[in-house]
């Protein structure tokens, strides 16, 4: 069943004018409106994600993929568009209280920058506990045992639970973010550049852990990455973005092996 239905997601930085959308995009090779100087980060981005499905979004820096992730994670307002989550209506339209509730209970986010995802002065366990508290968990013993279980599932050493998160390695911090993201059994998880900044040896383990959990819990996932191999290993379907627009969409292996759009062909041919 469709869990997320995103329709016409658009984000314009600046005042915006009637010419913005018609004068930007891949065919003009620019995302800055020549009339009003606003930047069109993304425009008319539409897609659906079903339970258990992983959708990849790839593109270069500035393609708009992170803007889409921020909108979905309710970290940024959209200029236009709707994101309908099953049972909750258009979450972009929700008031502050409702957005917080949705973010706490139905969404999980794994940020590229650890400072956006974790409070490093807290303990690792405390970071995850905070997410549980925000969803209404109150009993200390229950929280403690849930955090322990999540550490085990994401393969973070349980005996480091009470150490401050700043003492963790980059890979452990990413795992704690994953633990936190799945803590409340969300319907949707958004991963922004899940392996960027990690050692190669750690990247694979993090991906494997996430894929296992994702399949076990049948959670809808959006993974945003500039790294095609990450998307190839995780995603069922993929969107290719350029200058704020989707230029190609399809089954991941089809897009990688039989890219249709000129830009996608260049992108695939650029893999080292």
């Amino acid at each position: 069943m469709t869990f997320l239905d995103a329709d016409g997601l658009t984000k314009v930085y600046g005042e915006g004018c009637s010419a913005c959308l018609a004068t930007t995009g891949p065919e003009y090779d620019r995302n800055r409106c020549p009339e009003c100087d606003s930047v069109v980060a993304c425009a008319d981005v539409s897609f659906e994600v079903r339970d258990g499905e992983v959708l990849g979004i790839v593109g270069e820096s500035g393609s708009g993929k992170s803007s889409v992730a921020e909108i979905l994670a309710l970290d940024a307002d959209a200029t236009a568009g709707t994101a309908t989550i099953r049972g909750h209506g258009d979450v972009l339209d929700a008031d502050y209280q409702r957005r917080r509730e949705i973010r706490d209970e139905h969404l999980g986010m794994v940020h590229q920058h650890v400072h956006d995802g974790l409070n490093l002065s807290f303990t690792g366990g405390g970071n995850v506990a905070e997410k549980l508290l925000s969803a209404g968990w109150r009993h200390y013993g229950d929280i403690r045992s849930r955090v322990r279980g999540l550490f085990e599932e994401t393969e973070v050493p349980v005996d480091r639970m009470d150490d401050s998160a700043e003492t963790y390695s980059g890979g452990m911090q990413r795992r704690v973010q994953i633990a936190k993201a799945i803590a409340n059994d969300p319907g949707l998880v958004v991963l922004d550049e899940p392996t960027t900044g990690l050692d190669v040896s750690v990247q694979a383990r993090v991906l494997d852990t996430f894929r296992r959990l994702q399949r076990e819990q049948d959670v809808a996932t959006v993974v945003v990455s500039h790294d095609l191999s990450v998307v190839r290993l995780l995603a069922d379907r993929v969107l290719v973005m350029r200058q704020g627009r989707i230029v190609e969409a399809g089954l991941t292996d089809r897009v990688m092996e039989d890219p249709h759009h000129e830009y996608t062909q260049t992108l695939i041919n650029s893999i080292i």
């Binding site: 694979a204 399949r215 190839r232 399809g250 089954l251 089809r254 092996e257 039989d258 249709h260 759009h261």
Partner: protein, 250 residues
Amino acid sequence: MSTSTNSDGEQPRLAVTDLSKRFQMHVVDGREVVGLDSVEFDVAAGEFLAVVGESGSGKSSLLKCLHRTYEPTDGTIEYDTGDSVVDLATCNERTILSLRGTDVGYVSQFLREIPRVPAVDVVARPLRESGSSPEQARETARGLLERLQLPRELFDAYPATFSGGERQRVNFARGIAPRPRLLLLDEPTSALDPETREHALKLLRDYLGDDTAVVGVFHNHDVVERVADRVLTIDDARVVDVRPTGGEST
């Protein structure tokens, strides 16, 4: 194994009609490259169709079109699910994804997996994802790897460090593990020595039973004659011959 059944009016497991694939290469001034040109054939349940031809003739393109890794430009690929007939060339992507999980298996020449996953778990993964318990899936995976004579000490090692033949056995085991109803094989034994290849081919028959329809690309003439019911020859993107094994050209 049976032979093709189109003549007696039964629905074949797979019926390919007028299948063409053209690639538009934007990188070289939009030049068009023909991968497949009006390919037609069918495969019955339980039948093994071998695809032969020179390098670059279109054998792999054919398998990739059947798997929808390539999007066909024209034609139909009718697959009989048992309940209904689905056109794999045009059906929606969700249908393809769900068929790949259960019905359609594809063994490529090269193993592509998340690094640092033990061999046994690589093979067990499709079984787990189609509903087996982790223990049951690993048990089946071990059994398959044993039959393929992969040394036991490698079961829990990471395939990235394996030899070509060892990796190919892992890949082969993973592809057949869920017992697909339609199995696409792209030179699955090219890196195996003759003895191991024997084990692989025997396992194919024993493990899959007599319902799976197989379309397999093989280079080795003896293998083709032994395992296949019919042979399809492709030359320059076209089917030039279909014949039963051991028989004369038609």
